[in-house]
Symmetry: C2
Subunit: 362 residues, 2 copies
Amino acid sequence: MKSKLPTRIPGKSGPRPGQSATLRIVAREAGVSASTVSRIINGTVNVSEGLKRAVDAAIVKFDFRPNAAARGLALGRTSTIGVVAQAIDSPFYGEGLRGIEAGLRQRGYAPLIMSGNWRVEDEERCVQELIARGVDGVIVFAGRLSDAKLKMYAKSVPVVITGRRLRAPHLFSLQIQDAEGATLAVRHLAGLGHRQIAFITGSENHPDAIERLRGYRQALSDAGIEFNPKLVAVGDWHEEGGVRATMELLDTKLEFTALFCVNDQTAYGACLALYRQGLSVPQDVSVIGFDDLPSSTYRLPPLTSVRQSIGELGERSAHAILDLVAGRRPRMVAPSVELVVRESTGPRPETRKTPRRSGRNA
Amino acid sequence: MKSKLPTRIPGKSGPRPGQSATLRIVAREAGVSASTVSRIINGTVNVSEGLKRAVDAAIVKFDFRPNAAARGLALGRTSTIGVVAQAIDSPFYGEGLRGIEAGLRQRGYAPLIMSGNWRVEDEERCVQELIARGVDGVIVFAGRLSDAKLKMYAKSVPVVITGRRLRAPHLFSLQIQDAEGATLAVRHLAGLGHRQIAFITGSENHPDAIERLRGYRQALSDAGIEFNPKLVAVGDWHEEGGVRATMELLDTKLEFTALFCVNDQTAYGACLALYRQGLSVPQDVSVIGFDDLPSSTYRLPPLTSVRQSIGELGERSAHAILDLVAGRRPRMVAPSVELVVRESTGPRPETRKTPRRSGRNA
DNA sequence: CTGAAAGCGCTTACAG
DNA sequence: CTGAAAGCGCTTACAG
């Protein structure tokens, strides 16, 4: 048996603890060449049942799994999709990531997830690192990267961006139905008789926030209510900002009986602030969120919210990037929004109670 | 210029959209060989300032980033750590993942995250896929894999497992201080005068749940309170289970004035159930959770909880796996637990109100 | 149908 | 100090 074992000298293989079998080993066992095994594994050839069985047996025997790096190098692709999330630990993004993972796995891809932390520099670092790692595509799940940068990256690798509308080669965008959702929320409030409807936005120049503000104004105007900029406060997408913005709104002394929050976390904060001021939801103020996080069902009171299936959005993003990778044009739209009425919204009260104290906490 | 451009025929390079520069290109630009550029990049050689500058310039000019697959193949490692999470979209796991990512990035590694979904089969699939992708190590963040399987995997790749104690070569475990945390919680309740303290556990044979039950019993006995198994109900780690278990507890007609929940999500559900029955927290029943999720601060009322920094646990897991990868023995322990007292716990009421209705919802 | 060979882009022992 | 060459483990055009 002339097993010409190459006395490998230079590119010494690293210390793979229990390095797994290679194609060679499997091929030798099955009595064929590595080429053939490769073809069988990839299904690019028709072989006799017997041969196939022999190869399968050898694969099982050595528990062979093709080395992904080698495969990636030879093929020029890695079956990995980079994902730039903004905050892995946010309940909102978590749901989206899960959807992405599910959508990717269905087709044999896996996500390489990194956090952009809502910082342009971090996002840039992420995308570059992802490209360096040879991902086949990148999903930027929201974020602050400029359109120009995004287009630039799309020259190196297919890109899917959620949360804005943008057209460019090798790039696909999936915009959340922000305005529609906001309109749904405010229309519901107006339908309950509310006329003074405040809005707590997210960070000011965020596309989703802008769109939701637009939807809010639209619904107001539809209901014949005049827009009052004093009833708009700025939060930060988190509970903390909801608390602060609500205190500010209360400080203005402007009466409002309903509060539309840019997202559920903001609404949680708003509810807490209202509670601290001795105001009850929904008896004194109706509160409505956006996102319908799983935990909104279990708030006290359960929160009325605009549901946009973020998990579904993640899954569609996954399918879109795979379309792009395969050279197809994705043709999907963001999942539609839907109002979920729970117990934090109710009819407009005759007169609203005065908050316990109007000053803000130091 | 005899640029022997190889007319590459077989292993045709894949269709990398805008394929980036290679070492060759950079080397040619800088007037040196690829070997030298490689050495400079990896800092395995001392070169003149001038040369270094020339190479750096060429790298910048072509925006060169070493191909990760090629590097991985040559080196036998990928600078990627596989992570088996149970539920990417859980607020609890999200925080841990963020810690892992942060800990890994500090040292140039990136996480490849997959969801085990609390199912043994899924977890096995994850680990195998991760190994096939050539990750340098695997962090199993909690999960149901048997000790035996884990030890087996540790023969192929270093493994860090959180949530249980296990010793084996190339394996390191980090156990959450469950019992200590539970003791803290129950001692706090006992200190407030409570004598009938109920407990809602997670899934029954889960190691963390078992440990927390142990801590609960320990604290009870320390306070001279007899353990009553009827005051233990089974939840599911989620809000839904908290609701159900609380209804069951109420159904027993056994008086209890305090409720220790195996985790915060369970406590959220318990609070909602109590509220539905017309019982207030903490006036009628004190409720305490475990995990101190970020949103617990913003519950109504803000939830008293046992804080175990899960982000910190993630970061330590990351450092532990890198120690293992580097052939060092990790020497870290799980972060300590700490009681965070908020407004869901208060003194034992003289007499507890009777729930609005004792029957369970159909 | 199937094998030998070249190539993917990097790293590094060896030999100047 | 630095280059040529071999090797990491795959895939596939080419030639039987």
